[in-house]
Symmetry: C2
Subunit: 201 residues, 2 copies
Amino acid sequence: MESTTPTLSRKAQIDQTATALFRQRGYAATSMRELAAALGIEAGSIYSHIRSKEELLHRICFRVADEFMAGLRTATVDDLAPAAVHLRRAIDSHVRVLIRDTDASAVFLHEWRHLSEPALSEFVQLQRGYEAAFRDMIARGVADGALRTPDPAFATLTLFASLTWLPNWYRPDGKLNPDQIAERLTDQLLGGLATGDHLPT
Amino acid sequence: MESTTPTLSRKAQIDQTATALFRQRGYAATSMRELAAALGIEAGSIYSHIRSKEELLHRICFRVADEFMAGLRTATVDDLAPAAVHLRRAIDSHVRVLIRDTDASAVFLHEWRHLSEPALSEFVQLQRGYEAAFRDMIARGVADGALRTPDPAFATLTLFASLTWLPNWYRPDGKLNPDQIAERLTDQLLGGLATGDHLPT
DNA sequence: TTAATTTGCTAACGAACGTTAGGAACCAGT
DNA sequence: ACTGGTTCCTAACGTTCGTTAGCAAATTAA
């Protein structure tokens, strides 16, 4: 009954520490010797667990990407629901992923460009598809009158801007929970959701 | 070869090329040899014009910071105008700086953390003051009823998020000019302004 | 007990890094 | 003709980089 077992494998510890360092100092500016020091071991020892520095970045970026994609899929499985509902669910899911692991999210958002081919192209493609899905939901929501904004394309940009900025300010002990953040975003950027009254103008 | 006279001094060329590279690949991932190659010279030659790599980053960051601060000062010199007008002018100025040099702005926004002390602290302090000024303008605009938002603090975050995101999508040949971008931002994030406000250029 | 796996070390590799020294060509103004 | 500034070169410096090889201790599985 070891209640204090190391719940994280060494490899997972490396991933976690690397994530924090990559976020704090940037991927390119983080050396393997720094990472090793943060783990309390020597640089060479890391290579008993991973193949390369970039493998660390790759795993972080694509794991977070998977989480975003899975959330989007879950939010939009029921084709019957109106676009605005899909969008609200998708934003909520996105915010929850961001909040669950702000470090990994920040790395995902800012350090992916240091991936090399072919991973880089694969990543960009995932990203493009994800953004396109949001653009579509917003466009359809505006088209059917549930969302109100003078410029759907601009609203999409603003939404992604706000989502990307979130890891910069979010603190777990803040006053807003994930659901409230998602609500604020939807309200502020898209005139809220249809609550019975939907009237352009 | 030189059909056009070099309107830019060599030092200015280095600054410009470094700005583009720092933006594209990141400060830490850009080597002096890369920079030299982009300029068509050898790495050592750069040091006839600058003292260090960080000096390049320092100059870029603080030059853009100066432009932002100057714009804010100009936008708010007339103490009589309502806060909402100050804000609208400040946003407009900010957008114009971002657009005038998107490369330098992107470096300013994303690479400043690679500054070392004491420049780093100085930079962060400038940044804090700048953001506080916007927070105040928004708060006062909401207080006097000119701006409408359910959560002024959140609106401030969203505004900065959108401003920070701008260099990521802005293209000079796009359909929105600076003034329209500033207008969209104010409208979308802050319920617009009282009508009839005209901007100094 | 034995075998395999996990984990870590020391020492070093070749490559790339930022930077410097010292010299040479060019150009401007005197 | 001389001077001072600008520009760039080659060659190298000491350092740090990501990574590997080879070995050893500890832990786990059989």
